[in-house]
Homo-oligomer: 313 residues x 2
Amino acid sequence: MRIALDAMGGDFAPEAIVKGAVQAAQELDAGASIVLIGKEDVVNDLLKEYGYTGSNITVVNASQVIEMGEHPTKALTQKPDSSIAIGYGLLKMQKVDAFCSAGNTGAMLVGAMFSVKAVEGILRPSIAGLVPKLNGGMGVILDVGANADCKPEVLEQFGELGAIYAKYVLDIQNPKVGLMNLGEEEGKGTMLTQAAHQRLKANTNINFIGNIEGRDLFNDKADVIVCDGYTGNIILKMAESLYDILNDKGMHDPFFDKFNYEAEGGSPILGINGNAVIGHGVSSPRAICNMVLQAQKMASSKISERFRKNFSE
Amino acid sequence: MRIALDAMGGDFAPEAIVKGAVQAAQELDAGASIVLIGKEDVVNDLLKEYGYTGSNITVVNASQVIEMGEHPTKALTQKPDSSIAIGYGLLKMQKVDAFCSAGNTGAMLVGAMFSVKAVEGILRPSIAGLVPKLNGGMGVILDVGANADCKPEVLEQFGELGAIYAKYVLDIQNPKVGLMNLGEEEGKGTMLTQAAHQRLKANTNINFIGNIEGRDLFNDKADVIVCDGYTGNIILKMAESLYDILNDKGMHDPFFDKFNYEAEGGSPILGINGNAVIGHGVSSPRAICNMVLQAQKMASSKISERFRKNFSE
């Protein structure tokens, strides 16, 4: 198994990325390897500097870099030799089993749509976020920003995508799917959530447990939290800010420490023909390492094929 | 000044309410008094039990009670002698200057619309929530549940309502109004927030500072946070749950302790012809006392007249 990693993406690239790759190289399963994509000479110099002497990291040259602030579509069109374009090229040709980057989120999403594309039958692929649970486990919330405005049928599919991710990557049997809403009762909510509730309820592929509320994010009512990308983005950023606030105050706790984006890898793109993960812009080596391990788990659990099976057949 | 208080509303009514009223009676400004509305004999017995001997609490009899789970409109129609119906009756006749209740939220909102009604020019009155800020102050977020689906012009008015509340009740000069969104850039967001952004930006009555994100809820970027009621409800309940989680873990801090709903009173209804506050269902005596003091501040700052002036003239 080969995990491609964008060496040039992220606020602390390439140093933090290469350092994270060296760390991950020691933790990967036997037979798995990392393909670092970036400026070959720079990456090789860093690998030497960090004392890497193993054989499970290879380097693929990419002469261009998509910067964090660039317009996704324009950047991908104008920079065909960028690390993100090359990474998705390798993923499309199945020369790698997964691709991760802590670079430009928009370019990672657009790149997926241009190259491996959405699984047939999926209306809108989604970026999912991971949510620490008070019971010690993790939950998944989607969408967290790829789709600001959603239709009810899109939210219904998010429920299925999230349930597949929870089952096969988070190892949760029969994951509970909840719809984020402003009240528990069935008739509550916006026109969108009212309509989505009926669709989720009627969907026999998932274990829909009904509406959940903002106070239920961290408890174990739902393993999969369904919402539009506007709402999910706000929830995720609010949760992340809490870690920073507690950290600034010197307040530590195993549960809240899991709010640290470093702890659990990146945000997977769900519903595309391939495994892709987007890391946080400020990713540290530890965060990069965890993202690579998460991508390995996604690839070994054949998550992308399971989406195809669920929606196309 | 007379503050009406529903003695029968809330999970721990009437005991917690009467106890809170006795507490508030000692903290009110000179000349201010409380009108307790509820079953006269029960309330009088409790006043005696709690040792109240002052002269600034009077009791008004209400033979009926609207329970927490009742349908708001139906309950108000069928129970004209309920404490909520009588409270709003007194408010409409200007026999009291404010009305607060920790009872049925829906009935409090519908009661306001039936009796004192929305200020002319206001499209949708709003229930606002209070948000503790890291700088030690408080911010206001609206809407938090009265209006799940909103139009751009409704969000624009929320900006004005919130700014008036922040200025005159929270004593914030030139309050900064921010639009909750999934990115800071002007073009980001849902169709709703994109359109609302343009309206808020063009509104010369307020100090609009642009979009804010989930991570900005507690910092001092914005004093007034504008969003639809679905989003605001989720944010508020998520914040409240944090207090409970930290409390369960024995983690205490002056900032997080302010997340305790008890600390800051209730949720004001903004944009109606009168001052009304809705308390948390589980309100303790301390929470009730703070809600009465908050209602006093709303009445003394003539917040309702300021809404009228802002929108009708």
